[in-house]
């Protein structure tokens, strides 16, 4: 483990779980402090109703620590506290924006923690999933197709990516992303030699045997087609990025990235020609300020909100972020920018960077290539998701409806992201156990 390789830090008796607990307590204190400020600012005293739910969220994060201590004691210690901070601050923001959402979000956090625990409990090792890669591909496609089914599929804000289960709706696509990442990792580990070796030359470029691409391109094609049919621009973009990143991770060949970019350009051009909603999104992005009351309204209001926040923010509860449409999910970053200022917005981005750094450290330390690809792929997926949604909010990219992981309101996203966290923690724990068994016992060396 990285931290144990540094003698200065390991000269104490502090194990990774103690470190994790200390970070987690800090995250809990920050969350409670933000909540207290929101409660002071709120003139109607509404947070009193959501206070028990805050307690629930903090309790859940605490129990997550206990679960990790039991089920994955040697795992990376910063992943869980960072998630705790993001989830906690996101929760306070949601509570401040809409108290009904706050109650539901705390229930979703509970479900997320159950999924997190079950993943750790049921899956003692991620490696075994590599054998079920085609089953995973099938599961992923089914999950993607579910919203297109009659009766259960529902369309919200133009995108048909939800299924309705009477009391609540879920977005199966969020889970499909995780499953398909594991399929890609499994397939690529199996075939990466073949994908790297060129068997023929075409137009001066060495090209590997096309047969090996078939399942990949098939999965990609179906996934993209389904997402296009569901009008889920954000997920198509993310899934495509994930595909390219996984190919690159497995083969180290820049040609795949270039090929990906070219086909992305072509695909985008076609989508722009065919779909009116794509054109609207693009013009709302490029010419937002030309039509600030209609197509550009959402992003222009987001910029106005963030400008109001300035360097230090209006203070939580003191701004007017509720004028931004869809502020609890897609646009929550703008609300954070308004009320916590540049400092808060940058803080959230830094927290994500730390998470991404920790996730990649897990991938680097994993000994198994499948685990490397899964950890790297899932972390990259999460990282690019942040870039896609924050980039959309700040007008660097067209706005696409994806969540800000762990921060936005949204059950499926939160639960799926907790599963990702569990997978990363499981891989990390396995990696350090591998190192221990290999006789290279840095823990013993460091602490004694």
């Amino acid at each position: 483990m990285a931290m144990l390789s540094m003698p200065g830090q390991t000269g104490t008796l502090r194990g990774p779980r103690t470190t994790e607990l200390m970070f987690l307590v800090s995250a809990g204190l920050l969350t409670s402090g933000a909540f207290a400020l929101a409660a002071m600012a709120n003139r109607e005293g509404t947070p009193a109703k959501v206070l028990p739910f805050l307690g629930l969220v903090l309790l859940l994060l605490g129990s997550a620590h206990v679960i990790v201590r039991r089920l994955a004691p040697n795992a990376e210690p910063t992943l869980l506290p960072i998630v705790g901070l993001l989830n906690g601050l996101g929760y306070v923001m949601i509570a401040r924006l809409d108290q009904n959402f706050a109650a539901r979000q705390s229930v979703w956090t509970l479900v997320g923690l159950v999924a997190f625990t079950l993943t750790l409990l049921v899956v003692p090792s991620i490696r075994r999933f590599a054998d079920y890669r085609y089953l995973l591909a099938l599961a992923g496609i089914v999950l993607l197709l579910l919203p297109l089914m009659p009766f259960i599929g529902v369309t919200i804000r133009g995108a048909r990516i939800w299924i309705s289960l009477h009391f609540f709706t879920i977005q199966p696509g969020e889970f499909a992303k995780v499953v398909l990442t594991m399929f890609l990792a499994g397939y690529l580990v199996d075939k990466r030699e073949l994908l790297t070796v060129s068997t023929r030359r075409f137009a001066g470029v060495n090209i590997p045997d096309l047969r090996h691409f078939a399942p990949l391109l098939g999965a990609l094609g179906i996934a993209i087609l389904v997402m296009v049919a569901e009008r889920d621009l954000g997920s198509s973009l993310l899934f495509f990025t994930l595909f390219v990143v996984m190919m690159y991770l497995a083969t180290s060949r820049v040609a795949y990235v270039l090929g990906g970019l070219v086909s992305f350009a072509i695909g985008s051009a076609i989508a722009y020609q065919i779909f009116g909603h794509v054109r609207r999104r693009v013009s709302a992005w490029l010419f937002a300020f030309d039509d600030p009351n209609d197509t550009g309204f959402q992003v222009v209001e987001a910029s106005f909100a963030m400008a109001d926040g300035g360097l230090i923010g209006t203070g939580i509860g003191e701004g007017t972020p509720t004028v931004i449409p869809v502020v609890t999910t897609d646009m929550i970053f703008a609300a954070i920018g308004e009320e916590f200022g540049l400092i808060g917005a940058a803080g959230i981005l830094v927290a994500f960077l730390l998470f991404i750094g920790a996730g990649f450290r897990v991938a680097l330390e994993a000994s198994d290539p499948f685990e490397k690809l899964v950890a790297g792929g899932l972390t990259a997926l999460l990282g690019f998701q942040v870039i896609v949604i924050v980039g959309g909010v700040v007008r660097l990219l067209p706005l696409t409806g994806v969540t800000l992981p762990f921060v936005s309101y949204g059950g499926s996203s939160l639960v799926a992201n907790y599963v990702i966290l569990a997978i990363l923690i499981r891989i990390s724990d396995s990696a350090s156990r591998d190192q221990d068994q290999g006789g290279n016992d840095l823990t013993m060396h460091g602490t004694l």
């Binding site: 400020l37 600012a41 003139r43 109607e44 990143v245 690159y248 991770l249 497995a250 083969t251 180290s252 300020f289 600030p292 009351n293 222009v300 910029s303 106005f304 909100a305 963030m306 400008a307 109001d308 926040g309 300035g310 360097l311 230090i312 923010g313 209006t314 203070g315 003191e318 701004g319 007017t320 004028v323 920018g337 200022g341 540049l342 917005a345 940058a346 981005l349 994500f352 960077l353 991404i356 750094g357 990649f360 991938a363 680097l364 290539p369 490397k372 690809l373 790297g376 990259a380 990282g383 690019f384 942040v386 870039i387 924050v390 980039g391 700040v394 007008r395 660097l396």
Partner: protein, 502 residues
């Protein structure tokens, strides 16, 4: 091999986050000011209507405007005006649908807590929030305001009272007026309908006649003419031969005195008797166009009145009296101009001369203040929630239209007008009052006249405590209106109230 790729993907992600960070900084800091000032940005208005807003209270502590908390509404607060129409022309209104006027507009930064002096204090500011709202304290006194409304008794007219030494406005009331609660309603349809009804109503109740409307000042303007005569280097001792009528050079019609009497004499005599022929002759033959225009403009005519709330209209005095046709001759020391007859009338506050009641009150205040003209202001100070003063409106000297000796002479003349002249109705035991009445006919064939009285009052031997202008608009239903009969009793009652409570 995978490790190397992992590191590169991480670098790409970090680069992506760096770009995000740059753009977030641009929006929140570098472009923030431009975005906040973007005309499409309605957030500041929205924020204001969702934040507590400071109250407006009178000098004697009566609440004029207050924000009531709303529950379950689009907005968190509703502005209300407990005194109804009494302060509409001072406090104005604060409406989501119609904007803001009066103190609500001019002191918005203080009321909303955005002013720097309010942001520096308070816990909210430390946490990045807006400052606490400030309480705006008017210099206007509730008792005087109520008296003014009662005394005007529904007639169109205005009352302005000013503290000469500071420019603080003690009373500012005009009738007709309106209830700002109607316009402040968050119900857009109700507010706009009420607004339209007020615009269609007779007398345009929304326009504050006291400072936003102009009327012929009539004889009350003779204070300015007298000042021009006293200040003029060539006029010398004034002793105008009494006449019944006066023909200005080139004039085909005579200027006569009220009651067809003969008058003249010194400035004291002519102010006391409101002598038309004498002042007309002085202006046309001794003072001349240049000095008359200069004195009128020294008193603030042809320039915006520097009131601290918007909308104060400039008084008008003609600037051009035509070509000089003949040089000085005989008693005429200034020559004959193409519009000398107009000048003779303008000297009496007629023809093209017009002024708001506030403007005339300022003329009196300047005379009462030793010739120093202060900016009038309706707000005295802004207080923080803890009662400390965050901002105190300073006395702002605009200019010195007349020398102190001139002001002493004018005060004496106006006091004589009260002791033994047209303003004798203002005599009060133990109080020294000086005033000049005015009765401005709308025309030869129109019934009714604007009734004016402008003046000052104070304890004998001291600088006057208050200057005032009372204007009652011409109304065919009251054909006998005059300065002495109509305006003077109102001023008298107001002064009684003023000195009873002071």
């Amino acid at each position: 091999m995978i490790d190397r790729s992992l590191r590169r993907v991480l670098v790409v992600l970090i680069a992506g986050f760096a770009v995000l960070m740059v753009q977030v900084s641009r929006i929140q800091v570098i472009q923030a000011e431009d975005l906040r000032n973007n005309p499409d940005n309605g957030r500041s208005i929205l924020r204001d209507f969702n934040s507590p807003r400071g109250s407006i209270v009178t000098a004697d502590g009566v609440v004029v405007a207050v924000s009531d908390e709303l529950v379950g509404s689009v907005f968190d607060y509703q502005r209300s005006y407990p005194e109804g129409d009494l302060y509409a022309h001072v406090a104005g209104y604060y409406s989501f649908n119609l904007g803001a006027t009066g103190v609500e507009k001019a002191y918005n930064d203080w009321l909303s807590g955005r002013a720097a002096a309010l942001r520096l204090s308070g816990l909210n500011t430390l946490l990045g929030g807006a400052g606490e709202p400030g309480t705006v304290v008017l210099s206007v006194r509730h008792d005087l305001q109520e008296q003014a409304a009662e005394l005007l008794a529904g007639r169109s007219g205005s009352v302005v009272m000013i503290e000469p030494a500071t420019g603080a406005v003690l009373a500012l009331y005009s009738s007709p007026t309106y209830d700002p609660n109607l316009l402040a309603s968050h119900d857009g349809v109700a507010a706009v309908t009420a607004s339209q009804e007020l615009l269609d109503a007779p007398g345009n109740p929304r326009r504050p006649a006291a400072y936003a409307d102009r009327f012929f000042p009539g004889s009350s303007f003779k204070i300015v003419t007298a000042a021009a005569a006293l200040e003029h280097p060539d006029v010398g001792p004034i002793d105008v031969a009494p006449t019944v009528e006066y023909f200005a050079p080139l004039a085909s019609r005579a200027i006569r005195n009220s009651g067809q009497r003969a008058c003249g004499g010194s400035i004291d005599d002519m102010i006391a008797s409101s002598c038309n022929t004498g002042f007309a002759q002085l202006a046309a033959e001794r003072i001349g166009p240049e000095a008359m225009v200069e004195m009128a403009e020294n008193f603030g005519f042809n320039d915006n009145v520097p009131l601290d709330i918007a909308g104060a209209t400039a008084g008008v005095f003609p600037e051009d009296f035509g070509e000089k046709l003949r040089d000085a001759e005989d008693g005429n020391t200034v020559g004959v101009f193409a519009d000398s007859p107009v000048l003779a009338q303008a000297a009496l506050g007629q023809n093209n001369v017009s002024a708001s009641p506030l403007q005339m009150a300022l003329v009196a205040a300047t005379v009462a203040n030793g010739g120093e003209r202060n900016s009038p202001h309706v707000v005295q100070e802004v207080r923080r929630l803890d009662g400390t003063t965050a901002h105190s409106v300073p006395t702002d000297l605009v200019n010195r239209p007349i020398e102190p000796e001139t002001s002493v002479a004018l005060r004496r003349a106006m006091q004589i007008a009260v002791e033994d002249g047209t303003a004798s109705g203002l005599q009060m035991a133990g109080i020294e009052v000086g005033a000049k009445t005015g009765t401005a006919q709308l025309g030869q064939d129109v019934v009714g006249a604007h009734a004016w009285v402008v003046g000052f009052a104070g304890k004998p031997g001291f600088a006057p405590d208050v200057a005032f202008a009372v204007h009652v608009a011409a109304d065919p239903q009251f054909p006998d209106s005059s300065g002495s009969r109509t305006a003077v009793p109102i001023a008298r009652a107001l002064l009684s109230e003023f000195f009873a409570e002071s």
